[in-house]
């Protein structure tokens, strides 16, 4: 490799990091974006460092201390079995984020690729993919979940598979319609006239222009997936007790709400904060990625 090529590669990488830094800077410039960024970072840090921030063993039962109100000993009080809610919420956050980020991330990647191919590729490919998407979507989600659980047994992985499979058609369809809209635009025509091939066009030219709405949708799906996870865990198809997840904390708290409101509050607030955080962040990212909306342009 010649020196010039190495130099160009270094320039490209540093350019990418610089780009990331500038994106963060731009997001933080907007009040909502800054708030979203803060919340998301807060949730991420709590979740990643759950083991360090926890004050107690999340599954440690201490029935005599059941339904305690928040105190210095137990920041968010205790649940019906005397377990420390604060620690359970932190570990639950870890699970929630793991499930949602991985499954949405994978669904996004696959849905994006398939959507681009369906939108820009030959008609028959589009027809096959749409048939596939529609079949998956018309299958009742609950029955599908039951089928998967029966096949693979209940676990986090099961939940992730279910989420991925159900979300791919949604993302795929959205990307496909955006791609179709751009297919005949002047710049795509110019690229074809220059000789750009199929993959170059969809990944270099189409992708950055269709990814915006997709990111928003995906970021708002994160809390949605957390809810799915909670529901499935409640049905015994996901996380098994005593493993804490926000959903199970909420559900337990709901059963015992007359004894103590703290479990419900403690289970609900993280979900609210996460939803708001990701939504604000997603919207701010979309604005940042649209060069026309950049204020300094």
């Amino acid at each position: 490799m010649s020196n010039l090529v190495i130099l160009q590669k270094i320039q490209r990488i540093s350019g990418a990091w610089h780009g990331l830094f500038r994106t963060v800077q731009r997001v933080a410039h907007e009040p909502l974006g800054a708030l979203g960024l803060f919340l998301v970072v807060f949730v991420l840090i709590s979740a990643i460092g759950a083991d360090w921030w926890s004050t107690h063993e999340p599954n440690q039962i201490n029935v005599r201390a059941a339904f305690a109100s928040p105190s210095l000993e137990h920041f968010l009080g205790t649940d019906q079995l005397g377990r420390d809610i604060f620690s359970r919420v932190l570990v639950g956050g870890q699970i929630a984020l793991k499930v949602s980020l991985i499954s949405i991330g994978v669904a996004l990647l696959i849905g994006l690729t398939l959507g681009l191919i369906a939108g820009f590729g030959p008609r028959w490919v589009d027809n096959i993919l749409m048939l596939l998407f529609d079949s998956v979507r018309s299958f009742p989600t609950v029955m599908f979940a039951l089928a998967v659980v029966t096949l693979f047994g209940p676990s986090l992985t099961t939940i992730m598979i279910i989420v991925i499979v159900t979300q791919i058609p949604i993302y795929g369809r959205m990307v496909r319609s955006q791609t179709l809209a751009l297919k005949n635009s002047e710049f795509i025509l110019t690229e074809r006239a220059i000789g750009a091939g199929f993959f170059r066009i969809i990944f270099v030219h189409m992708l950055p222009n269709v990814i915006g709405p997709l990111l928003i949708l995906a970021s708002m799906d994160i809390p949605f997936v957390i809810t799915i996870e909670a529901g499935l865990s409640f049905l015994g198809m996901g996380v098994r007790p005593p493993t804490p997840s926000w959903g199970t904390i909420l559900n337990d708290g709901y059963s015992y709400i007359y004894n103590s409101p703290w479990p419900v509050i403690a289970g609900g607030i993280p979900v609210i904060l996460t939803t708001l955080g990701f939504t604000f962040l997603g919207e701010s990212l979309r604005d940042v990625f649209d060069p026309k909306l950049r204020k300094d342009a």
Partner: protein, 341 residues
């Protein structure tokens, strides 16, 4: 150089660089099933209905026509974005129709194209640097130094290197148009196809693009196909021109000859429809009534006859095939005008 002929001395004057013969491009209006159900026997429209033209090396050819005449369709067929159903397109002696994608890619290196919307033709999220370097990347010119090529191209079109870091939406129409020219010229093509190169540009900057194309043509012996409905610029910068109506070329020949004595009634109407920037100008205007009919309702015989002010007897039954005035100048009309010279 004020001479109107830009053929460079080393050009091959004998064989044309681009030759279209009887090109026909059809578009489907209904799917086969629907057509059968509705009893439509021929669910197609002929956007281009038998067009023949030639462009020699170093020549500028103007293809004139109003919306729906088929001129943009021809441009796209030449670049290979559309496939004609009949006819042949010969480029430098090679037949273009029926080529594989890979072969077309190679040929596309030598044909540059510029489309109508100057800012819209540039991929919105790519920097100007990436846009200018792209033709080299696509055609696997890995060894070349992208940065120096980008500099060369920007200099060629008269823009400073600062532009390399900008994005398309930050450019004015004229600047975006120049980037379009730069991209089209990146790989040293021999033919440029410019679709409405001055659309959207102010009158005071139109000349910049046209002068630039002209200068480059002199420098590197380029052939240019300009597609436009702006007769004012055609008069100045083209050597030959062809006028399209309803998918056919109804008159073609040297620009000066056509402007001096147009033969086809439509040409006459078009030339007289030009408002002069002089309030006292006396214009012998031939006003056409009505509009171009829809492609779905092709008139019988000569397609222009419903609007022609000089329509005669067999205009609605027989299509007038091409007749020559001189070797270069031909027309399609039963009752041509101005032929007494």
């Amino acid at each position: 150089m004020d001479s109107l002929s830009c053929v460079s001395p080393t050009a091959n004057i004998l064989n044309p660089l681009l030759e279209l013969t009887d090109v026909r491009v059809r578009f489907r209006t209904l799917s086969t099933t629907r057509a059968i159900l509705n009893g439509v026997s021929d669910p197609f429209v002929d956007a281009v209905n038998g067009v023949s033209l030639e462009i020699k090396e170093g020549e500028t050819y103007g293809l004139i026509g109003e919306s729906g005449s088929g001129k943009t369709t021809i441009a796209r067929s030449i670049i290979g974005l559309l496939k004609p159903q009949e006819g042949s397109i010969q480029y430098d002696g090679h037949e273009l129709i029926g080529r594989s994608t890979l072969e077309m890619k190679k040929i596309r290196r030598t044909i540059g194209a510029m489309f109508q919307d100057p800012v819209g033709s540039l991929s919105p999220r790519m920097s100007i640097y990436s846009l200018l370097a792209e033709p080299f990347k696509i055609h696997n010119q890995k060894d070349c130094d992208f940065e120096s090529e980008v500099r060369r191209l920007l200099e060629m079109v008269g823009l400073s290197y600062d532009f390399a870091n900008r994005y398309p939406h930050q450019l004015s129409g004229g600047q975006a148009r120049r980037i379009g020219v730069a991209r089209a010229l990146a790989l040293n093509p021999r033919l440029i196809i410019a679709d409405e190169p001055t659309a959207g540009l102010d009158v005071s900057v139109q000349g910049e693009i046209l002068n630039l194309l002209n200068k480059l043509q002199h420098q590197i012996g380029l052939s240019i196909l300009i597609i436009t409905h702006n007769l004012n610029i055609v008069r100045h910068i083209t050597d030959r021109m062809g006028i399209m109506y309803f998918g056919r070329i109804i008159e073609q020949g040297p620009t000066k000859a056509i402007f001096d004595s147009p033969v086809h009634p439509y040409t006459l109407a078009l030339l007289s429809a030009n408002p002069e920037p002089d309030p006292d100008a006396k214009i012998d205007r031939i006003e056409l009534e009505g509009e171009v009919p829809s492609l779905l309702n092709r008139p019988q015989g000569c397609e222009f006859h419903p609007r022609c002010p000089f329509v005669g007897n067999n205009c609605d039954t027989k299509f007038p095939f091409s007749t020559n005035v001189t070797k270069d100048h031909s027309y399609c009309c039963h009752y041509p005008r101005n032929l007494d010279c």
